[in-house]
């Protein structure tokens, strides 16, 4: 399943400065949800300092998530099930990265 990840506001510093990522998530029987996506990002893409991006299961407070240009709170946050070609944007609103 293809997905486009974008990072803004300083969050890209944790991903080697690359703002746009096209990721292919490995296929699995159940559809991917945001919780699994975040765990996958933490395992495969975060090069350093995971605590600056995630806190437990969810993103660190201060990092906003947009799915297809809409607030993820409207979509169910972690329970939202990803569809093919979904656009996920992470925007950091904090000073420190």
């Amino acid at each position: 399943m293809l997905s486009k990840l974008k990072l803004h506001g300083g969050a890209e510093l944790l991903f080697d400065g690359v703002k746009n990522h096209h990721v292919t998530l490995p296929g699995q029987s159940d559809p991917w949800d945001m919780k699994q996506l975040l765990a996958w990002i933490r395992g495969n893409m975060l090069k350093e300092r995971p605590e600056l991006f995630m806190q437990g299961d969810t993103v660190r407070p201060g990092i906003l998530v947009l799915i297809n240009d809409a607030d993820w709170e409207l979509m169910g946050e972690l329970e939202y099930q990803l569809q093919d070609q979904d656009n996920v944007v992470f925007i950091s609103t904090l000073h420190g990265g």
């Binding site: 506001g9 300083g10 890209e12 607030d71 329970e79 609103t93």
Partner: protein, 493 residues
Amino acid sequence: MCQVEEDYNGLESELNNLCCMKCKEGTAVLIIRVNDSFCRSCFKEYFIHKFRAMLGKNRVIFLQEKVLLAVSGGAASCSMLSQVQEGLSREAPKKLRFVPGIIYIDDGGACGRSAEERQRSNALLKSIFTETGFTYFIVSLEQVFSLPTSVLVPGTSDPDPSNPSYKQAVDQYIKEKQTLTEENVASAVAQLSIEDSAYSPEHKLALERLFSSMKTLTAKEDMLQTLRSHLILHIARENGYSKVMMGDSCSRLAVKLLSNIALGRGAALASDTGFSDPRYGDVVIVRPMRDYSSKEIAFYSRMFNVPSVFISGLDTQTHDKTSIQRLTESFVTNLQSDFPSTVSTIYRTSEKLHTVMPPQSQTAEPASKCLLCLCTLDTKVDKASAFHATLVSEQLSQIKLQDPSLDAPAQSAEQCCTEGQGCGPGGCCSSNRLPSHQDLKTLLCYSCRLTIKDMVATNTLPPYIITEAEKRQKRSQMKMEISEYLLEDDEED
């Protein structure tokens, strides 16, 4: 009709159809505060309206006034810039009417960024600024070493007889509207934009030395803030700008409020976090973005493509506990995620704060203002105060040390006066004495004292601060000496 579902178990489709609470038609794309969902167009309207309402409610920006926009490259200040652009454009029903300029301070030297990085971000910002067509200034922080001492003296706001009140100013403008033509506006805009990002290597070294002489990140951030505001003030004064707009958002101001209390700046809270900050006298700092939460700003700049540049600062990617400001930010942000009314509560509290003017400051002598932050000195209190108690305990714990190796070059000058009693704490009449911590302390407010205390060597401060400190010290010394000849009995310490 729309339905709002309480539980989410796999019912995302219902949530996706959540309606905008304003127009009740469009699909909602974001939620702000707790339950307010907006669609795209309603959000844009809401955002723009808030900006104008903030300016209109406070009525401090007069017509045709020159206003400097302080842009740091981040989302909030770039949104402010785009709002100003939007407001000044012809299509807006009620145009904003003032003359904007943009200033960006390149503080890469203090944050340890390389010259190429700085050039790159300067170039990106320059392209954003030229798009707007406003006059812009790109200044590097190293310029702080060539500032004049007049920066530290609050100017007087001239009560211009031709512009006494806002209403009268509007009436006058409407009368004069005939004379304003296209050419006037175009010529104002085509003024020479300054990109003064060049800096000399000595200044760069001096800046690095200044920041490395501070031990904690808290003090560094504080000093950076102070130097930045001095530089902005200088540029504003030099170019005739009477107002400066800062892009502090609601969330940032809430963090700033709490961290200022922790830093000891409680006395200046109202001016530090309020809408307008009159401490500099002739130049007033306004904060039109103070009603927007970080979420609203981030969404707006994402959805409507506001160009911004992320520039890493002193505390980027640092651990939570590296500085007071950083810790407060993490505290407030974490609390906000569980209790969504945290930031707005803090914001409402800050709106209720007012400065109490002590009677003596009505004379407005420069000596009664802090040397660095130019707020009224809060340390001239009587003996039965908490502040005095901290001074006493500090003295008691320092029985042996009296400014030891910090003034090595100036030690020979300490025997300048023949009378030991005539001198203040450390000598007065030698001209090449560098101010020690003791000297500077009397000129600073409580929190600036703490910042300076953190410095290993105060001689790394920029020359304008040192010169002004000496001047004030001499003046107060002179005053003390003259007071001996006055008829009233003065107890000398």
